[in-house]
């Protein structure tokens, strides 16, 4: 039993103890560092939400962009946003390290130009229904008073069109809107 004699029991114990203490110290340091330099990273849902176009149109089947962002974070496919189109899909694929896939045509198609809603104001009866439907507070008006869409705020989500009992809301492209605004302003000898 030569080898047993060769082991210095005290030395072994002290070595083990030292290693244990070192490990403890290290773990404590790490803990402290973690608490001190804690990074406040933006939650994933917010990041996804920032990629979405914020039209709040609900074409994806969710009642707004944020709910869809939450659904994507839960694993839903990221190709259900027609207003965002391919650009949004690429951004989301980048963010989530998923594959770039084609837009799900079932949700609708990407509009070629940005659209916005316009109320034919002389037909409006002031029923407030479109105001309640607008997800971004872009329609102003009061009961039994004419309503109007604030063009700068409209996202073209189409949600106001369906509830209108008078069918007096049109969806037009921004270009047409500007043309109309111009001819309204100048009137004279101006045809588009």
């Amino acid at each position: 039993m030569m080898w047993l004699d060769m082991i210095d029991a005290r030395g072994l114990l002290s070595a083990l103890g030292l290693m244990f203490l070192l490990g403890l110290l290290g773990s404590m340091l790490l803990q402290a560092a973690n608490r001190l330099i804690e990074t406040q990273e933006e939650p994933l849902v917010d990041k996804i939400n920032d990629c979405l176009p914020q039209t709040q149109c609900g074409q994806c089947g969710h009642p707004g962009c944020r709910p869809y962002a939450e659904a994507i974070a839960q694993g839903e496919l990221h190709n259900k946003c027609p207003p965002g189109g391919d650009e949004t899909i690429i951004q989301l694929a980048d963010l989530l390290s998923r594959e770039v896939i084609a837009l799900d045509e079932a949700q609708g198609e990407t509009a070629e130009t940005p659209m916005l809603a316009l109320i034919r104001e002389d037909e409006c009866i002031g029923c407030l229904k479109c105001i309640h439907a607008c997800p971004v507070d872009a329609i102003i008006g009061a009961q039994k008073k004419m309503h109007t869409v604030v063009a700068d705020l409209c996202t073209g989500c189409e949600l106001c069109i369906e509830p209108c009992p008078m069918d007096c809301i049109d969806l037009i492209s921004e270009e047409v809107y500007q043309q109309q605004a111009l001819s309204a302003q100048y009137g004279v000898r101006y045809d588009s």
């Binding site: 914020q54 997800p135 971004v136 507070d137 705020l153 100048y186 101006y190």
Partner: protein, 592 residues
């Protein structure tokens, strides 16, 4: 400080930049000429920065020279005035400098239809409605500049009144005019040095700035001599090395004043006002002579112009009429409009054979096949020679910017400081591959701006959506709370209405009251109506039961006056019995 001492130092605005052949000699030597008035005047009703202008005249109306034609609804200093007497034809769609690809509304004036004669337009006979100001203070000057529609005549076209600081510290008078061919400002200085000096004095007495610096390129010797003679001594004079580009506003400020203001903040906030010398002349005319801005000096030059020269042109004159008067249209052959370039060969706009009117910003109209050829040359691939980097006055990296703009990498573009690009075209000029770099950068800048705008709009939409959701939630909560409150109130009301067997002394009191109410004189039931009797019986019974309950309670708690209570209860019992009896009697009586 002597005049000669002022001229000793020559500074370069940027260490980089180009030394190019300026080709100014031919037009520099000739006096500014006048032409016949045009048949039509066209005024675009769209400002390239601020959008639509609102016309103030009606079709068919006769307008005088200097009459107000259009204003901007919200922005100061964009007023358009009529350059010649005539009649308003109406609003028509024409191309203009800011909208070359598609027609936009323009106000058209028919000059021939005017009843008045206009044999000779002279500088001084223009003051129609504005009185000349005498010893005006600074706000009055700013007001007048806004009213007369003076914009930056150097080419930017920004409303001058909006650029004028209320507390003026430094004035930089920009006479650099660094683009080749153009001598409009130079010629104006030579001919009108006296009036320019008056303008400077006007500003000095009204605003009392710390420093007034006139910056001019060193090769304009005649203009420098004229200014030196006319200008007051306290005005600083700074010669600039003739290196393209020297006329850029921020670069001038950086070179002259040393401090580099934040790129995004307007110079106005630092009390700095950079003003083109032609604009200064227009201000002098507006303030001291009451003249509105209706004409300007335009250099007509280029290799295809036989006699390059400066002209006083009415603003609104179509370039085709200019070509006619100069006898250029006969040479042009098949195409009826010549290939004009608006502005200088470096930064100017190719008019694509469109007939646009002279605008306030038109400092030159060039017919130069050489420039056109260079502009239209097919771009070849970049060979990475690095010449563009040496030329860029802002020390940007055009090569990398180009690559990033081709890939639409907006973050990279931002980090490469695309926003600082002056679009001066120095990189284009040196590029051996004829790549239209400045054009790429201009487009990338627009794209970057649109992306930012959509982003900010999306952010705003997001915020509104979130606030709305919050509001709806809050309303729902309020509604729930109100519902709950109402339900509670209702319950409380019902409970308070229900007579309860109350405990303790209150119960005794209650029983007492009941007993007193049912006083003995009512004990006889004399009505013969069975129904009434029945109700009386039921009443008596309920009172008795309540009283009994109260008694039980009182007993349990050992209340005082128990005997009295007991007596009452007995009385009530008797009463019930009496009622019962009467009712029974009535029933039997009724049946018998």
């Amino acid at each position: 400080m002597t005049a000669n001492k002022r001229l000793t130092s020559v500074i370069a605005v940027s260490e980089q930049g180009l030394v190019i052949d300026t080709i100014k000699q031919p037009s520099r030597a000739k006096t500014i000429a006048r032409l016949e008035p045009p048949k039509r005047l066209t005024y675009p009703l769209i400002d390239r920065r601020f959008g639509a202008l609102t016309p103030k005249v009606k079709p068919g109306q006769c307008v005088r020279k200097g009459e107000l034609l259009a204003i901007h609804d919200f922005q100061q200093g964009l007023n358009v005035h009529c350059a010649l007497p005539g009649r308003v034809l109406g609003v028509e769609r024409h191309v203009s400098l800011s909208h070359l690809s598609s027609a936009s509304p323009c106000l058209v004036i028919d000059v021939e239809a005017s009843q008045e004669t206009h044999s000779e337009q002279h500088l001084s006979n223009t003051a129609l409605s504005m009185p000349a100001l005498h010893e005006p203070d600074w706000p009055m000057i700013i007001q007048r500049v806004a009213e007369t529609g003076i914009v930056g005549l150097g080419g930017a076209g920004f409303p001058t009144a909006q650029k004028m600081p209320h507390e003026l510290q430094y004035v930089v008078i920009n006479a650099a005019e660094c683009e080749p061919f153009i001598t409009a400002d130079e010629r104006l200085i030579i001919e009108q040095a006296q009036q320019i000096a008056q303008g400077i004095e006007l500003i000095e007495t009204a605003a009392k700035p710390e420093r007034i610096i006139v910056a001019i390129e060193e090769d304009k010797t005649e203009a420098i001599a004229c200014l030196q003679k006319a200008l007051p001594k306290q005005v600083e004079f700074q010669l600039l090395a003739s290196k393209y580009p020297t006329g850029s506003e921020r670069q001038l400020v950086r070179a002259l004043l040393g401090n580099v203001p934040d790129l995004n903040a307007p110079l106005k906030e630092f009390g700095i006002w950079v003003v083109n010398i032609a604009t200064l002349f227009a201000i002098k005319r507006a303030v001291l002579d009451g003249e509105v801005l209706t004409q300007r000096v335009v250099t007509v030059a280029g290799a295809a112009i036989a006699e390059p020269r400066n002209y006083w042109l009415p603003i609104g004159m179509p370039v085709n009429e200019l070509a006619q008067q100069l006898g250029l249209d006969k040479k042009s052959g098949a195409d009826d409009t010549l290939e004009w370039i608006h502005g200088g060969p470096m930064m100017g706009v190719d008019l694509q054979r469109q007939n646009i009117p002279v605008e306030k910003v038109t400092n030159a109209l060039l017919l130069d096949p050489e420039t056109n050829k260079k502009r239209q040359a097919k771009a070849r691939p970049c060979i990475r020679c690095g010449k563009c980097e040496e030329a860029c006055p802002e020390f940007l990296l055009p090569q990398q910017l180009l690559k990033a703009s081709e890939h639409d990498a907006q973050e990279v573009l931002e980090s490469l400081k695309l926003e600082q690009c002056l679009e001066c075209g120095a990189c284009d000029f040196v590029c051996p591959s004829d790549i239209p770099l400045a054009q790429h950068f201009a487009e990338a800048k627009v794209k970057l701006r649109t992306t930012r705008q959509t982003q900010s709009q999306a952010q705003a939409a997001k915020l509104r959506y979130e606030r709305r959701a919050q509001r709806l939630l809050q309303r729902e909560e309020q509604r729930e709370a109100l519902k709950l409150e109402r339900a509670k109130a209702r319950k409380a009301r019902v409970q308070s209405a229900k007579p309860q067997a109350k405990v303790g002394t209150e119960a005794v009191k209650l029983a007492d009251q009941k007993i007193v109410k049912s006083s003995p004189e009512q004990e006889r039931f004399e009505t013969t109506d069975s129904k009434q009797l029945k109700t009386e019986l039921a009443k008596a019974q309920s009172i008795y039961q309540q009283a009994e309950k109260a008694l039980a309670q009182a007993k349990k708690q050992n209340m005082p006056k128990l005997e009295q209570l007991e007596a009452h209860v007995a009385q009530l019992k008797a009463r019930v019995e009496a009622a019962q009896q009467a009712y029974d009697q009535q029933l039997s009586g009724g049946s018998s």
